[in-house]
Amino acid sequence: MNLLDYFRNKQKKSGTASIAKERLQILVAHERSARNTHSYLPQLQRELLEVVRKYVTVDQDAITISVEQEGTQEILELNIILPDSPGR
């Protein structure tokens, strides 16, 4: 590092480390919330999708399930996006 670099470094405070930290914070928060969900949820989602598909053609990702904690009660939210035109 020569004299010029020394001053340049002083100005450029934000290196790639801050990008790394930001990406990790988002990722870790996301993965932790996934870890704490109920273990039956993925299967519930799969089975519900199968039932819905008996009647309507929907995509694999047209169904979302989430559980939210509000005080002492948990809210199970189920969201199915139906296609614009009827499937069959």
């Binding site: 405070k13 930290k21 914070q25 870790v28």
Partner: protein, 269 residues
């Protein structure tokens, strides 16, 4: 009653075996009867780092299968009489580590030792989960780098859900963060996650920071745990770590960029 410590990480190559070897030697040098076990069945390496690779006759799996007793399989360290090594099998399948078998061997070791250090293999497969299952304490070895931090967090989730203590709803495993390969110069330049950054993300008690050091490769080259090199920063940082683990209040060292003279700073890094 022995304390069981797992050295784990998820990601490979971050310094688990180096740490297990250094910590075992450090505890033994302080007079504690210590055994360090290699859980990496099929890819045994602790024996090399400890410098006892030519003295391996029987291994961990032999003991589990009843083909040898502990007395035959344990290798006594030549530098410290309180320290023993239990090597992994190089040929057997990793499924040979059964929960019952591992539990039986650990229970027998607990009668004669103060500390049992389990050197976990990388990954989150069977060998790694067996290494942490019976643990009382976990040292999560992490490099200041995105994939290592992420894998460590994943490992924290497994520690809190798939260990014996979790299954019995017992007091949870005590988890500690150990940052290795830390480069204060690169942190100062904003190129590397700082101790504070990693701590903020993982929210763990910091047990130690080991600076990036040539001494680590030199130590593994010669089969001498780096903690025995008390001239090196890495060796001293591991000695501090052992003291801290035993409850001593020691400040973290080697976190700042080494001070340089004015001339060298002006002309050459």
């Amino acid at each position: 009653m022995a304390r069981i410590i797992v050295v784990t990480s998820g990601k490979g190559g971050v310094g688990k075996t180096t740490t297990a070897a250094a910590m075992a030697m450090g505890l033994a040098l302080r007079g504690h009867r210590t055994v360090v076990i290699d859980f990496d069945v099929g890819l045994r390496n602790l024996d090399l780092i400890m410098g006892c690779e030519r003295r391996v006759v029987y291994d961990f799996v032999n003991v589990i299968n009843g083909e040898a007793n502990l007395h035959q399989a344990l290798i006594k360290d030549k530098r410290c009489e309180k320290l023993f090594v239990l090597p992994a099998s190089q040929t057997k399948d990793k499924d040979s580590l059964t929960k019952e078998g591992v539990g039986r061997v650990l229970a027998e070791l607990a009668e004669g030792f103060d500390y049992i250090i389990c050197d976990s293999p990388a990954g989150i497969e069977h060998g790694a989960t067996m290494a942490m299952y019976y643990a009382d304490d976990a040292i999560v070895v992490t490099n200041p780098e995105v994939s290592s931090v992420r894998d460590s967090d994943r490992m924290l989730g497994i520690l809190s859900s798939r260990s014996r203590r979790a299954e019995l709803a017992d007091e949870p495993i005590r988890e500690f963060l150990l940052l290795t390969r830390y480069s204060p110069t690169r942190v100062a330049a904003g190129e590397m996650l700082s101790v504070e950054d990693v701590q903020e993300i993982l929210a763990l008690d910091l047990l130690g920071v080991i600076p990036e050091s040539e001494a680590v490769l030199n130590a593994s080259n010669s089969g001498v745990p780096v903690i025995l090199n008390d001239k090196s920063e890495a060796g001293q940082a591991y000695a501090d770590l052992v003291g801290r683990y035993l409850g001593e209040k020691l400040p973290h060292r080697f976190l700042e960029v080494p001070k340089k003279g004015l001339l060298s700073r002006l002309f050459k890094g």
